[in-house]
């Protein structure tokens, strides 16, 4: 069935003289490029691009697409990534003329509908978070984190306060410490206890007048709500520090509890997770942030603003914020992702968003209950939207690792869960089913795991068997990296 020919590299398919795109006659004078530009600036030979017909291109990429698993084709329980269904109406609406063809620098008066949409989505983000100041600019969650830390640093700078430390739990995503370093903070790691909660003694001993921000993911990467959150917030606030919430796991708490109400001063959303923006094979995401009122003056510009005047309501991009940290990227933000988030929020409504979280948590707990007898879940018998099982017993008894299990699941037609993260669980298997899966799918997944566990170790070491390739050599790839195609000698 496989078309091996069409999935050769583009450059191998190329044939001199073949082409797809042609332009109409330019209708204007066509001087030689040498007359217009200095010779030293011009290309001496044609760019080294492949030469293909349109049919070549379609067949090549269509066949490549079939080598991927995706949410549209498979259950994709990749923990911490919230691989929920991506509604098709969002794609259609985000591609409408008047949405998809707006230039970022066109006059505000010609983009009132877009600015109104963005202003309202800001309001929804603020309402869901309980934090009133919103910036839509950051391009991804990691950049949202960075932007919020910059706002915090600017706030402390204004206060004349010398705070140098950012505290990060050991289970935190790697972007947390990396972002802190970029804003000039030192990172200090706070230990977690056995059950995944913050070690309060360690935190107490670490918080002092050098503490700028404590970054926390709540619900945590273990899928547990940190029920000491208020105590943590009080401790950090009393010392003059701020709480940052990594909003990666907002899918568990929409309309149920709000970061601003449990002590967070700043947070980011991952709309490509929580609000159904497609993951796109690794992006784009967006990283809008919400902050408390006293941090709002420091947010990046431009900001989307509403002006009420005698002539009526209009919307604008506001640049007049003298305390702003400045811009963190070009133009306004990842608008295409935010438009999809807007469509999703309006399609769900306030009540529907709460149901999203209720069903995400219901599905996760059901799966946990069914799986735990097969694959131990070390940190608790209940969870929020995801949970972390461990293959360490399996490894000891049978020599089968989390990786083997993950690979064998592919043969059964399931995308693997996240494995080996978080680092605080041995042989971690992190499972997030999301609310957009049926009981039948969850049951089938459990049956697949049951069957896999009954197989002999050798079968599992040999997995996957049904995919086009199996267990690529990553050591070779890293030792002698080949990062582009070159003409074979």
């Amino acid at each position: 069935m496989r078309n091996m020919q069409a999935t050769q590299l583009l450059f191998e398919l190329s044939k001199p003289g073949r082409r797809a795109n042609r332009l109409p006659d330019s209708e204007v004078p066509q001087p030689d490029m040498q007359e217009l530009y200095p010779t030293a600036t011009l290309r001496q030979k044609p760019a080294g691009l492949p030469e293909l017909s349109e049919g070549d291109v379609i067949r090549h990429f269509t066949n490549l697409s079939t080598l991927n698993m995706s949410v549209d084709t498979h259950f994709y329980p990749l923990g911490s990534c919230t691989m929920k269904y991506n509604p098709k109406r969002n794609e259609r609406l985000a591609s409408l003329p008047g949405i998809v063809d707006l230039h970022p620098l066109q006059p505000d008066a010609t983009a009132q509908g877009m600015l109104e949409l963005l202003y309202n989505v800001q309001g929804y983000f603020a309402e869901i978070s309980g934090l009133p100041g919103v910036s839509l600019q950051p391009a991804a969650g990691a950049q949202g984190e960075l932007t919020a830390l910059m706002a915090a640093a600017a706030y402390f700078r204004d206060l004349g306060s010398q705070r140098t430390q950012v505290l990060v739990p050991d289970s935190a995503h790697g972007t947390n410490p990396a972002s802190a370093t970029m804003v000039g903070f030192q990172t200090k790691t706070i230990r977690s206890r056995e059950d995944g909660s913050v070690d309060m003694d360690h935190l107490r001993a670490s918080v002092d007048d050098s503490t700028a921000v404590f970054m926390i993911t709540n619900p945590s990467t273990l899928g547990l709500f940190e029920n000491q959150i208020q105590e943590i917030a009080d401790l950090v606030h009393d010392a003059g520090g701020l709480i940052y919430l990594d909003g990666a796991n907002m899918n568990a708490i929409l309309g149920i509890t709000r970061p601003g109400d449990f002590g967070a001063d700043m947070m980011h959303y991952n709309p490509h997770k929580t609000f159904s923006g497609p993951h796109g094979g690794g992006g784009p995401g967006a990283g809008p942030i919400c902050v408390r009122d006293f941090l709002e003056p420091y947010l990046p510009t431009p900001r989307v603003e509403r002006v009420d005047s005698a002539e009526g309501v209009h919307y604008r991009l506001g640049y007049d914020h003298p305390k702003s940290i400045g811009r963190v990227r070009s133009f306004v933000g990842n608008i295409g992702v935010l438009v999809r988030a807007y469509c999703y929020i309006r399609a769900c409504g306030g009540q529907g968003l709460k149901e999203v979280s209720e069903n995400a948590v219901l599905n996760a707990n059901y799966l946990l209950t069914q799986l735990a007898p097969l694959l131990p879940v070390p940190k608790g018998s209940r969870c929020m939207h995801e949970f972390v099982a461990s293959a360490s017993k399996l490894k000891k008894e049978k020599g089968v690792t989390a990786m083997d299990l993950a690979k064998r699941l592919l043969d059964f037609g399931f995308h693997a869960p996240t494995v080996y993260f978080p680092l605080t669980v041995q042989e971690a298997v992190m499972i997030e089913p999301t609310e957009t899966e049926s009981k039948e799918t969850l049951d089938a997944f459990v049956e697949a795991i049951r069957e896999i566990l009954s197989e002999d170790a050798e079968t599992l070491h040999d997995a996957p068997k049904t995919t086009r390739i199996s267990r690529p050599d990553e050591v070779q790839a890293a030792r002698k990296p080949v990062m582009k195609w070159t003409v074979s000698p």
């Binding site: 073949r18 690794g282 306030g350 995308h415």
Partner: protein, 456 residues
Amino acid sequence: MAYLFNTEDDTREMLAAIGAASIEELFSSIPQELRLQRDLKIPAAMSELELTRHVRELAGKNVGAEGSVCFLGGGAYDHFIPAAVDYLAVRGEFYTSYTPYQPEVSQGNLQVMFEYETLICQLTGMDVSNASLYDGATSMVEAVLLAMATQPKRRRVIVPDNVHPEYREVLQTYLQWTDYELVSLACPEGSLPVSELEDLLDDQTGCVILSQPNFFGLVEDHTAAAAAAKRAGAVVIAVADMISLGILKSPGDWGADIVVAEGQALGNPLQFGGPYLGIMACRDSFVRRMPGRIAGQTEDRNGSRCWVLTLQTREQHIRRDKATSNICTNQGLFALRAAIYLSLQGPDGLRETAEHCAWKSQYLMNKLCLQSRFEPRFPSGSAWREFVIRDRQDDVAGLLSRAASQGMLAGLPLSRWYPEYSDCFLVAVTEKRTRAELDALVDVLTHAPSAELSHA
């Protein structure tokens, strides 16, 4: 609710299996006093039909490039997007998959990344490309951080003011938390004053940014500037335009060490500024600190050629607070679109697109400047796709708003970024513009009432 699966029966059965009396019970770890005790203040759910009407209505209040004639540029361009790009990119196997953590079921995405990286290297003349970053501005910042990380004893970053002003603002935002010094170089004639650059270069200069073409649309010979920077031991960062590389020399051939670009023009829609495509490529010597994901070629256990994410130890999830960058996601979907676009263009298609931009922008500039009201602001330079026009009557705002009222987004006023050019505007002409549209713009701009009259 629209996207859920669980029926009432499902819910009942699942709760029974869990051993919970209610869904509410599943949230018992969240203390009651922290719960939201009311409904979210977000309007009630809309059906697909209602939502479609609603968003169409919002869209109808906007004037997009399709509903007007668009001469706006400044880093985002109205180039033609072939149907095949849209058709392929909406395949669910591409846009609903994620980062290729399981290479066996991600060979499609990984091969596209590898092909994209090769295409970018071919155009830029670099050894290695990553699989994309956020946008042109953040790519430039990441390039500066990369360059400076390889030059630990140097502190100065030289940036000419003909580099995109928003990119410079972003750089300023990021560098204010470091001990790097941002040194601005004024370019009063639009192009880079090489001797002034030479005066600024010293043993503290870690990198120099050179834009080709620059923000004003001018094509410059950067050979001497790049060589001078090299002599001073500085890293040369090029801010390139990918379409222009159909006719212009690869930055690698004029001395760039790291090349960054905004990849929006490669088959990606304008969509009010994002998501776009941050392009970054570099010479081999920088690869160990390059941010972003990279796909590499290897073999599987049966000896079949395949692709994996490689050199992952550079990244934040391993190096944490010691990482050069905090970047995590890339713009996979837009890198895919760029790869499809460049495959469709081929060397001839890209060259012709770049030539059309050159011919049409030259035609429009020349025709406008036949009018006494207008002159080119930088007459000594050679403009490509974009050029700066000075309005001798100093009424840029009035001129542009009158053009807008006649369905023409005629250009960008420069006053926001360059107060000294408040009587100037920037006009961009892509291959999409027809001669009739160019002539019509001249007509609209020249038959506008003069400044005195309009103020009367």
